[in-house]
């Protein structure tokens, strides 16, 4: 393990809207800045002016600063948002279970953030996240089959990405946050692997259209969600996970589905699929129940 050498701190300011769902490129730009600056500097992260904060962005931030290289070489310190709502959401997200705080921070009761470096699907972890959110929302522990399905499908996708690289283990993060005011459980699943587009078999025609700039990853993601793209395994019974998640959205069993994968942002509920100038290293799914 490399030592955290003496080197200067460099300050990075988080955007006012710290949310992958609402401001993906602002958050991804911040994450890229952290990655680049961490090669030469320790990081001082200024969250003080954050007005809107959602737990999907917190998950992406933790995944970045806990990434092997940064974790072993770089000190990351920071402050908390001055805005009450953003600050309490940061604390309740489970952020400080993974990042040290100078001041004492109360244990989160509305959220949890779990990291795994694993090739395994973990049904018990999915159950625990769901029951934690429902306990906070409804006062009792209860099941939620749609949320469970999305969590297991997401873990499965990560397993399949890892499987393509033999013994490689993907790191994934799963978070839940009980938004009491809105009566919603907000879930994020994030992996820092090869991403969706390398785990599907894009036909020759689509590849040519993509090279010619006519087809983009945004349209390919739309096709994946509609079940029109084959799994990279070529086995017809695989590759049903993302279409099944989209189907849950269409049935109204989940809400606010957002997918950020490599250079694509998709607010699936609003049918907004667009390319991003700053790509995200991995895949992030956000949904609410």
């Amino acid at each position: 393990m490399r030592k955290k050498h003496r080197r200067p701190f460099s300050e990075i300011k988080a955007p006012h809207v710290f949310s992958m769902v609402q401001n993906p490129e602002g958050v991804i730009t911040l994450l890229r800045e952290i990655e680049i600056l961490s090669r030469t500097h320790h990081i001082s992260l200024d969250l003080s002016e954050v007005q809107i904060l959602t737990t999907d962005a917190v998950a992406a931030l933790v995944a970045t600063i806990q990434n092997g290289d940064i974790k072993t070489t770089t000190q990351v310190r920071g402050n908390q948002p001055l805005a009450d709502a953003a600050r309490s959401r940061l604390i309740d997200s489970g952020f400080f279970s993974h990042v040290e705080s100078i001041q004492p921070v109360a244990a989160p009761t509305k959220g949890r953030m779990i990291e795994r470096r694993s090739k395994k699907v973990e049904p018990a972890t999915a159950r625990d996240l769901i029951h934690l959110a429902n306990q906070a929302l409804f006062g009792d522990s209860r099941r939620c089959p749609p949320a469970y399905r999305v969590l297991i499908e997401s873990m499965n996708n990560t397993h399949n990405h890892a499987a393509r690289r033999s013994q490689h283990k993907e790191t994934w993060w799963a978070t839940v946050y009980a938004d009491i005011e809105r009566g919603r459980a907000c879930y994020t699943f994030l992996d820092t692997g090869v991403g969706i587009f390398k785990s599907v078999k894009v036909g020759k025609l689509k590849r040519l259209l993509k090279m010619a700039g006519i087809e983009s990853d945004a349209t390919i993601l739309r096709d994946i969600l509609e079940g029109k793209v084959e799994s990279s395994t070529g086995q017809p019974f695989r590759g049903k996970g993302l279409p099944a998640i989209n189907d849950l959205l269409k049935r109204g069993r989940i809400k606010s589905l957002v997918v950020v994968a490599n250079d694509v942002y998709a607010n699936v509920e609003k049918e907004e699929f667009r390319p991003m100038r700053t790509p995200f290293s991995g895949t992030l799914l956000y949904w609410e129940v």
Binding site: E122, P123, R127, P145, R149, I152, K240, G241, A244
Partner: protein
């Protein structure tokens, strides 16, 4: 006239409340494990006795597509879609759409 009482299998009670991925290698409580240890033997018993097997899907945390495809599609790959659909019946009050989904996996798995 007496009507033969079919067999009954509750996934939650006789297998797991937390069904998992496709294969044993991918994680706990997989569709492969369910097929080999529970569903397969019970299906064979029902087929031998010339009766139906009611699969009760309720009471679990939920199901991933890969679990359902591996278990029920896998059963159809062992036998045939027609034979599987002749024997199995389904109950799913929690998530009614699962029944059509499973039937599709069974039909897609082998020729009827």
């Amino acid at each position: 006239m007496s009507v033969a009482q079919g067999l009954y299998l509750s996934v939650a009670k006789e297998f797991s409340e937390t069904p998992g991925p496709r294969s044993r290698e991918e994680g706990d409580w997989s569709g492969e494990q369910f097929l080999e240890d529970v569903l397969g033997p019970k299906f064979d018993q029902a087929a031998r006795e010339g009766t139906t097997l009611m699969i009760d899907l309720d009471g679990t945390e939920g199901y991933a597509t890969s679990f359902l495809e591996s278990a029920f599609g896998g059963l159809a790959r062992r036998h045939s879609s027609k034979r599987v659909l002749d024997v199995l019946q389904f109950k799913s009050n929690d998530e009614p759409y699962l029944i059509d989904e499973i039937k599709k996996y069974v039909n897609d798995a082998s020729p009827r």
